[in-house]
């Protein structure tokens, strides 16, 4: 199993194929570009399967570790390794990439090669973030994802794409630059190493911890995104092409939550505890307030975007109550949200491709013309609302259970999402799908084709399996969650200061 550097393959296969796809050049070779992209995405997904199969659920620490010298001058290493949490995200990412490539198959007709290549390169870079065990390597992958995403939103996006892409880029850059300063500071404190594992054992004073926490917070909170730095997300989502929205919601947002898990919590545990109240407050604001904001949206994509923010509030809430249920729930929520938001954006994409409108008011009675589609959309809407038996329920339930152990009111406020979530999702569903046929455009709609059916069916199976039998997911991350929690419970303030 250790013969092949599987993690490196998972990172570099999509990137290499991205470059190949780019080389096919102009739109005359569009078909070649599409096929090549699909092969690349599929191979990228294939290599993650043996990683999952060979992953030991018993072993603590990191597996599939690979370490090569990269920048000797600063003692930076090409150091990869995964635990259960990264494994799940790795799988989710590689899986989503295949769907995104298929989803853009016919819809994208301009600059196909560049479109496909951007997604493949983006996918490889995000795998890199999930595998990196070296602070600088993490940062390089983390930052480099901005470039393809910037291009994706800006080139294939909607009317206000320029504004949205700039906002996206500058928001996220501000956060990560401060995180860079924090990483450099940690390099000196830890005695000249960028290894995350060394950072975990570095004693730090509470003041230093809080400053580092805030710097990381800037980087990751923007990515999550947490209230009040969430405003880039609705803009970016609305303007991005369907594939962009899917990747943005399904994977990019996870970089934030993953950053909290991998960097903030183990490196600065005392600051995490000291600022947990603040984090929980922001998370609850996201859950409740953004849930209400979602209720009044008239644009479907915007509604799903706000719903994403509200659901990501659950992730940060689950993380900062520091118990196993909460953290497991948070990770499950990340994965499940990846499937659900991806599916919902694809559903909106299906409608948008036919009607070129995302306005709820332009629809009505779609069920009469697209019954199969309506059934799928129903399932995903229910999942988004957290219906038991679907993946949406598992994560939310675990987080609420964890929150209950910490404080009744946290759980109470978090549970309101079950009401708001159901309200905004189902109300939108009702207005779009049910009722009389709203206009002649709706009357002419064609139901989904085989390609769309395949994508939605795969996702439907995923959310149902995860909802009914979450064991394979919770099983692999069990040890990782305990590892992280043991780091967080262990104070790092130097003894003399305590």
């Amino acid at each position: 199993m250790y013969g092949l550097p599987l993690l490196s393959l998972a990172i570099w296969i999509p990137i290499a194929f991205g470059v190949l796809v780019l080389a096919t050049g102009s739109d005359r070779n569009a078909h070649a570009a599409r096929v090549l992209a699909l092969i690349g995405a599929f191979l990228g997904f294939l290599v993650t399967l043996p990683i999952y199969a060979g992953f030991s659920t018993e072993l603590g620490g990191f597996q599939y570790v690979q370490k090569l010298e990269w920048i000797g001058h600063f003692n930076v290493n090409y150091h990869l390794g995964i635990d259960g949490i990264s494994l799940l995200l790795l799988l989710l990412n590689s899986f989503t990439t295949v769907l995104v490539v298929i989803a853009g198959w016919e819809v994208i007709q301009q600059r196909v090669a560049q479109y496909m290549a951007s997604f493949l390169i983006l996918s490889g870079l995000m795998n890199g973030v999930f595998c990196a065990l070296d602070g600088l390597l993490f940062y390089v992958f983390f930052e480099a994802t901005l470039i393809p995403m910037f291009i994706i939103i800006g080139v294939w996006g909607g009317p206000r794409r320029v504004y949205a892409s700039l906002k996206f880029f500058l928001y996220t850059l501000l956060g990560s630059l401060l995180a860079l300063v924090a990483l450099i500071y940690l390099y000196f404190v830890s005695g000249g190493s960028f290894s995350l594992l060394d950072f975990y054992d570095t004693p730090l004073t509470l003041t230093a911890q809080i400053l580092i926490f805030l710097a990381f917070f800037m980087a990751f909170a923007v990515k999550v995104p947490m209230w009040p730095v969430h405003t880039w997300l609705p803009d970016a989502h609305v303007e991005a092409p369907t594939g962009g929205s899917v990747v943005l919601a399904a994977i990019m947002l996870k970089l934030g939550g993953y950053g909290f898990i991998r960097l903030s919590m183990p490196i600065v545990p005392d600051a995490s505890h000291a600022l947990a109240g603040f984090m929980i407050f922001l998370s609850l604001v996201a859950v409740v307030y953004i849930g209400l904001v979602a209720l009044v949206q008239t644009d479907m994509k915007k509604l799903i975007a706000y719903s994403s923010i509200s659901h990501m509030g659950f992730v940060t809430l689950g993380l900062f109550i520091f118990n196993p249920q909460g953290m497991q729930g948070a990770v499950i929520q990340m994965i499940s949200h990846g499937f659900i938001s991806g599916a919902l954006f694809l559903c909106v994409g299906v409608l948008y491709d036919r009607m070129h409108s995302r306005n709820i008011a332009d629809y009505g009675g779609v069920v009469n013309t697209m019954p199969v589609f309506a059934a799928f959309f129903m399932l995903f809407a229910m999942t988004n609302a957290g219906l038991p038996g679907t993946s949406g329920f598992v994560g939310e339930f675990l987080v609420i259970m964890g929150a209950m152990q910490a404080n009744f009111w946290y759980a109470f406020l978090a549970a309101t999402t079950l009401i708001f979530g159901a309200a905004y999702t189902l109300w939108m569903y009702k207005r779009v799908i049910f009722g009389a046929v709203a206009n002649s455009h709706v009357a002419q709609l064609k139901d989904i084709n085989l390609r769309e059916f395949a994508i939605l069916a795969i996702l439907a199976v995923a959310v149902l399996v995860m909802g009914v039998w979450p064991h394979p997911f919770t099983d692999v991350m069990h040890t990782a969650v305990n590892d992280i929690l043991s780091h967080v419970m262990h104070s790092k303030i130097p003894v003399a200061q305590q």
């Binding site: 050049g25 102009s26 990269w70 920048i71 000797g72 001058h73 600063f74 600059r111 560049q114 600088l136 940062y139 390089v140 930052e143 480099a144 901005l146 470039i147 910037f150 291009i151 800006g154 080139v155 794409r161 320029v162 892409s165 700039l166 880029f169 500058l170 850059l173 501000l174 630059l177 401060l178 860079l180 300063v181 450099i184 500071y185 390099y187 000196f188």
Partner: protein, 482 residues
């Protein structure tokens, strides 16, 4: 004291001088259609210099001309990069200048003399040698800026450059004379030993330092001595802007190291100039990045971007220590690589009677030529400091050095203003990728310029993915030379 020292550390300079004089004469006998010979001879001269410098590089500091001139590893590395930079400049410029009637002997001989000035500055071990190199460079540049005699803008730029440059040289000379008054010597290493033996309470010395730093600020183009820079960049023909905007920064870096570190790097004095550089660095970051946003001319925009890059460079230098200087050197090398590419691209897009110098000329470049757009994308992201490009590691190394020196606040200011800076680089990317082309002329550069530009752009990426060799080289060059 050895009176007759071997001249070999200066062989490359002597070769260049001889060849420049030869080319000057040969060119007189050439017809216009054979002007290519001058071009080839110039390229040959530079390549010859590279071979000589490479062959005679010993790694240890060697002095000649009674200790006025030094050949050390830092000098060798910087000179080699200078030759390649100038060669690249000429390749990029060839089409541009021949379309604008500047493909004449003067352009090449002036370039060679300017290069000689750069080399002398890089290898100077004596304040007068430094000054000599600087003046040789400056006078050649004044003439090059005004080479397009009919252009009022170029003439105005040359005038401004000359007046302000002369003022700065005067200040520098004044400062040097005070340093001489305080220490009794002009040789950098001896200034250092004199100050460290006698202590540095001398008011005259600090007074002289202020003038020297002001002169340096002017030559680097750091705020508040930056006023000439946008006008000269804008007014000069792009080929000359390319020259001014790239390789002289290498010599300016050497200049700072020779005078501030090697001569005045004594602890007490160092504290003084570090403070001055800190003020200049912060001002440069603010002025450069914020003013660049308002520019619509890409040459002016890059001029302000240069100012902000110089701010970053100064931060590296003021961080001090081997790491600080090495980071500064890495930064300046990375900067030269990026600015060569960026100005090269501007020239590539220009054609007969058309200067691609407005930001809008980059509109829809991705539709016209995806490859050029991609190269420019790499260059812009590199200038903005986004990984995985060399610009990121340059900024990273500087931040690393300044945090090590304990000035975390400077690092925070630097990153905040690089965020501001990211905006205007992104705007170029936005124009190239998001907007539709208004100009549909085909881009047909010469083959060699095209290949070189591709290599240049990809080097920005390659050094970003594998920065180690270049970083190690800068580290050992600084280590061997201080």
């Amino acid at each position: 004291m050895q009176y007759i020292q071997p001249l070999w550390p200066a062989y490359a300079e002597l070769f260049l001088l001889g060849m420049a004089c030869l080319i000057l004469i040969v060119d007189l006998f050439l017809r216009d259609e054979n002007r290519g010979v001058t071009y080839l001879l110039t390229q040959f001269t530079l390549a010859g210099c590279a071979v000589i410098t490479w062959a005679y590089s010993s790694g240890e500091p060697d002095h000649t001309f009674s200790g006025m001139f030094v050949g050390d590893l830092m000098a060798d590395v910087l000179k080699l990069i200078t030759y390649f930079g100038v060669m690249a400049t000429l390749v990029y410029a060839r089409d541009y200048i021949s379309l604008r009637g500047m493909f004449r002997g003067e352009f090449f001989t002036l370039t060679l003399f300017a290069t000689l000035g750069l080399m002398v500055m890089i290898s100077a071990n004596h304040l007068l040698t430094l000054y000599l190199g600087l003046e040789l460079l400056s006078l050649s540049l004044y003439a090059m800026v005004s080479l397009q005699r009919d252009s009022t803008r170029a003439t105005e730029a040359a005038m401004k450059y000359f007046v302000l440059g002369a003022l700065a040289s005067g200040m520098l000379l004044y400062g040097m004379s005070m340093i001489y008054g305080a220490t009794g010597t002009l040789e950098t290493t001896r200034i250092f030993s004199t100050i460290s033996d006698d202590g540095a309470r001398n008011v005259v010395l600090v007074f002289g330092l202020v003038f020297v730093v002001a002169g340096i600020g002017f030559k680097l183009g750091a705020a508040p001595f930056h006023m000439w820079l946008p006008d000269v960049y804008h007014g000069a023909p792009t080929a000359v802007t390319l020259f001014i905007g790239s390789v002289p920064k290498l010599a300016a870096f050497a200049f700072v190291i020779r005078i501030l570190v090697q001569a005045l790097g004594v602890d007490e004095i160092q504290g003084h100039w570090q403070q001055m550089l800190a003020v200049m660095a912060v001002l440069s970051l603010i002025v450069g990045n914020i003013t660049a946003i308002a520019q619509t001319n890409i040459k002016r925009m890059l001029a302000y971007s240069t100012i902000s890059h110089m701010g970053f460079l100064l931060i590296g230098i003021l961080a001090g220590g081997l790491n600080g200087y090495a980071s500064g050197m890495f930064y300046v090398v990375a900067y030269v690589l990026m600015s060569l590419g960026a100005f090269g691209m501007i020239m590539l897009l220009s054609r007969q009677g058309f200067e691609a110098e407005n930001l809008d000329d980059f509109k829809g470049l991705n539709q016209r030529s995806p490859w050029h757009a991609f190269l420019m994308l790499l260059l812009m992201f590199s200038m903005a400091g986004v990984p995985p490009t060399v610009g990121f590691y340059a900024k990273f190394a500087v931040l690393q050095a300044v945090v090590e020196a304990g000035h975390v606040w400077l690092a925070v200011i630097a990153v905040i203003f690089s965020l501001v800076g990211a905006f205007y680089y992104l705007r170029v990317v936005k124009l190239m990728y998001f907007d539709d082309a208004t100009d549909t002329a085909l881009i047909t550069p010469r083959g060699d310029a095209q290949v070189l530009l591709s290599v240049n752009g990809l080097a920005v990426l390659a050094f970003g993915i594998f920065p180690q060799p270049l970083m190690a080289l800068c580290g050992s060059a600084i280590l061997a030379s201080l």
